[in-house]
Amino acid sequence: MEEVFERIAGALDADYVEFRYHRRISTSIRYANGEFEDFSRREKAGVGVRVLRSGSWGFSNTNDTSPEAVKEAAEKAYRMAGALGEGGARLAEARFFRGEYVTPGFEGLLEEPLEEKARFVLDLYKVDRPGSVKSVTVIYRELLDERHVWNTDGANARSREARPEYIVFATAMEGGETYVRWDGNGVLGGRGDLLSLGDPVELSRTVVSEAGALVTAPRPRGGKYRLILSPSIVGLLSHEAIGHTVEADLVESGSAVSGKLGQRVASPIINLVDSGLEMPGSPPGTIIFDDEGVIASRTYVIREGVLRSYLTDRERAARLGIEPTGNARAWDHSVPPIVRMRNTYIEPGDWTLEELIEDTEEGYLLEGGGGGQADANAEFFFSIQKVKRIEKGEIAATLRGTAITGQAFEVLSSADAATREWSMSMNTGHCGKIQPAKVAGGGPYLRVVAQLAGVSG
């Protein structure tokens, strides 16, 4: 298609033209209460065109990929850019991807019979459940994406990417109490890559049995404690509470870290990374190149406690005087790219979890990040599925989930130990900033001081 793109772009009197062809085949299955609540397949394809004209942007899309329709879309984007008159946008120099990246396993998932996808879900549903577990829901989602990003600055990047994922929810009810436990996994890769992260049936068994065990468990007391956060909570904190504040669009609107590059923002043991490149476990935020065609970076956001970089697209990189990091992402062809995260994590330390627990006189080990919210000022509130009380260096009791709250940079400044055990474990995550995006998060077990909320003391 690049000849078509080149010809259309050449006919416009624009500073920059970018075409993104994107085709997605998605399969969704949701099984609960003994029936398929959803079983569907969707296909979406088209071209998104972005034009920079006299320093102002315009965007347009079309689901018709014929040269005539793409040309018409480009002309519309050109007109939309004209509606703003003269603007100040310009683009930083960047390293572009040229060639094709194909996820192993793409073809396998594309050709896998629907019966096998259904069987995968049913196997997870049919695990034994204690009497208190009233319902189990299994969700399977699969995104098969073909992308082609071409622009007048030299990008010509193609990919075929597969992202399968599953989630198991178990709801237990007993003695007037309701408790929901969930977990899942996801990957950039094929069926084999997903299975290599751990046995899904085993995960389902754990979720279902823990729901039953924890529904009648007591809740922890609220208060400020030494808390050991598990990798999924470290991931949630890194993404929601830190990551969003370093996204260049939010930096420009005055987030908690505006103007703080080079300053200490966390404990010296904190190295926080956002990476779109291949890494162990192939988490689903791996993108190789972004939707401006820029080669994705492995960016140290925080290194040894010091704020080192924001996450940015080319326009904001130029304005902020930093290198583009390959963080411009679009959910599909119909929307323009915006600044998004990829795989966001804190690097491991040198403790073992056992040592960390032994070293904690009194506190809690928090497992299983739930949902959460955070503001641009880095104040956050996350729900936690499972809590273990630590007394005199030993696990004294397993309790029901609660919530954790605080200001993320203050919490990371209190961090004093991180483990060697490390994982990406937010692999079923979708970030919902304006448009959805597949992201992941993770890290080591991290000991911090923060507020356990929502339960009276």
Partner: protein, 433 residues
């Protein structure tokens, strides 16, 4: 468009016992605002074909954004129906439709530059109040949309509508102090109906008021939810009133039909026919007639929201709440309304010794209504006097419990998207300052 849907139906009806074809097309323009700057005006056009095939009581669904690929779509739907398990699904056969006039020729004929003009109106309304107000991460949209549904049981219906909407987010910034953000959103079918300036001015004043916050300290008393904060609670009620969730055992309102589940002052209506809303139409996503339904009357649950399958399973009247063209039908509200009370919001505040004003609530209740979250734009109010803005206030409790303890619903109402909501004074939530 309806003849196109019927032609496709003729081609694919042999693939199952029952077959449904949906076609939808839309085009529109949008613009974004970040940090008081208008960015990226966009033009968009989309179409789609969704086909549901039912084989021996089990259903399969597939969708594509190219209507021309309907044959592949129908084949995929048939394959899924065969793999899926039977649950006795059928399709509706239509009914009496009420005419809905939510089409504005002015919006249909609008030039793309109109969205830029609307974005400028947002910015000038905010800056008229104060230059310390920053409008951020906001959008304005205009669109025209059309759908047609035809099925093998005799449904044949189509509808065109227009829409204009904004979602404006703003915060205030003065001398190194930054307020938390707040938002307003409104969605209308006609350009002339938009209350854009009033809403944005009110938003700007609200965020300016929450600049100099202090600690709340010890607090006991009711809280006053703004329409936007109340929308979080109403979301839980709508989820619980969905017959999908009742059938799946996920609703705390299961078994509550005909019972008083809320305070007497609460009457909640869902109206799929309102001409001022772009979400309205004569038919729902399955082609069943939409209607105006009182869901909760003076605190008593009158009906759940249904689609064809749930109404059949529960032996109830179909309220016409099937939604979502690109997926299997799901139950969703259309345009919700909470009927107004008699007292004004200031009178309600004067009626209690102390109250906590909640402009925005950062919280996500679970499906049982358990909620804990953070109050944004909070104010301490004593005997109707606005004492001081407060920060770092947490609330926790249960939405359904709190809605049994409503002290008053205001006369004033505000549009939140297409919903029409009052200020609500209630107790029963714990507040930690």
């Amino acid at each position: 468009m309806i003849s196109e849907a019927e032609r496709i139906l003729e081609r694919v009806r042999g693939l199952g016992d029952q077959v449904e074809v949906i076609i939808h097309r839309s085009r529109g323009y949008s613009a974004r605002i970040e940090s008081n700057r208008i960015l990226m005006p966009s033009a968009s056009s989309e179409e789609g074909v969704g086909i549901r095939v039912i084989v021996s009581g089990s259903e399969g669904f597939s969708h594509s954004n190219r209507v021309g690929s309907f044959m592949e779509v129908a084949e995929a739907a048939r394959r899924i129906a065969r793999v899926s398990e039977a649950k006795g699904v059928t399709l509706p056969s239509g009914g009496e439709y009420v005419e809905v006039r939510n089409f504005d020729p002015e919006l249909e004929a609008a030039e793309p530059e109109l969205v830029v003009e609307l974005a400028r109106r947002v910015l000038s309304a905010a800056s008229e109040v104060s230059h310390d107000v920053v409008v951020d991460l906001s959008t304005v949209d205009i669109w025209v949309t059309e759908f047609a549904i035809a099925n093998s049981e005799g449904v044949s219906v189509s509808h065109s509508s227009t829409g204009v909407s904004y979602a404006v987010v703003a915060f205030a910034k003065r001398g190194g102090k930054v307020s938390s953000f707040d938002f307003r959103q409104e969605s209308r079918s006609r350009l002339g109906e938009l209350e854009l300036e009033d809403q944005v001015r009110d938003l700007a004043e609200q965020v300016l008021m929450s600049l100099d916050t202090g600690r709340l300290g010890e607090f006991r008393g009711p809280i006053m939810l703004s329409p936007e904060a109340f929308a979080v609670f109403l979301g839980s009620v709508a989820t619980a009133l969905s017959a999908d969730n009742v059938l799946r055992g996920r609703s705390p309102l299961a078994g509550k039909l005909g019972h008083r589940a809320f305070s007497e002052s609460l009457t909640i209506v869902d109206d799929g026919l309102r001409g001022d809303s772009p979400s309205s139409s004569p038919a729902d996503r399955e082609g069943a007639p939409r209607s105006r339904n009182t869901l909760v009357e003076n605190g008593v649950v009158k009906t759940y929201m249904h689609r064809h399958y749930t109404a059949m399973r529960m032996n109830a009247r179909n309220t016409g709440n099937a939604s979502s063209f690109s997926t299997l039908p799901v139950v969703a509200p259309t345009n919700m309304e909470v009927l107004p009370g008699e007292a004004g919001k200031e009178e309600l505040l004067e009626s209690v010794d102390r109250a906590l004003w909640v402009s925005r609530l950062s919280a996500m209740p679970d499906h049982m209504g358990n909620v804990s979250g953070t109050v944004k734009g909070g104010w301490l109010i004593e005997k109707g006097e606005w004492v001081r803005p407060v920060r770092e206030v947490q609330i926790s409790g249960n939405v359904f419990e709190a809605l049994r303890n409503v002290l008053g619903v205001s006369r004033e109402r505000r549009r939140v998207s297409t919903h029409l909501l009052p200020f609500v004074l209630l107790e029963g939530l714990s507040v930690t300052g």
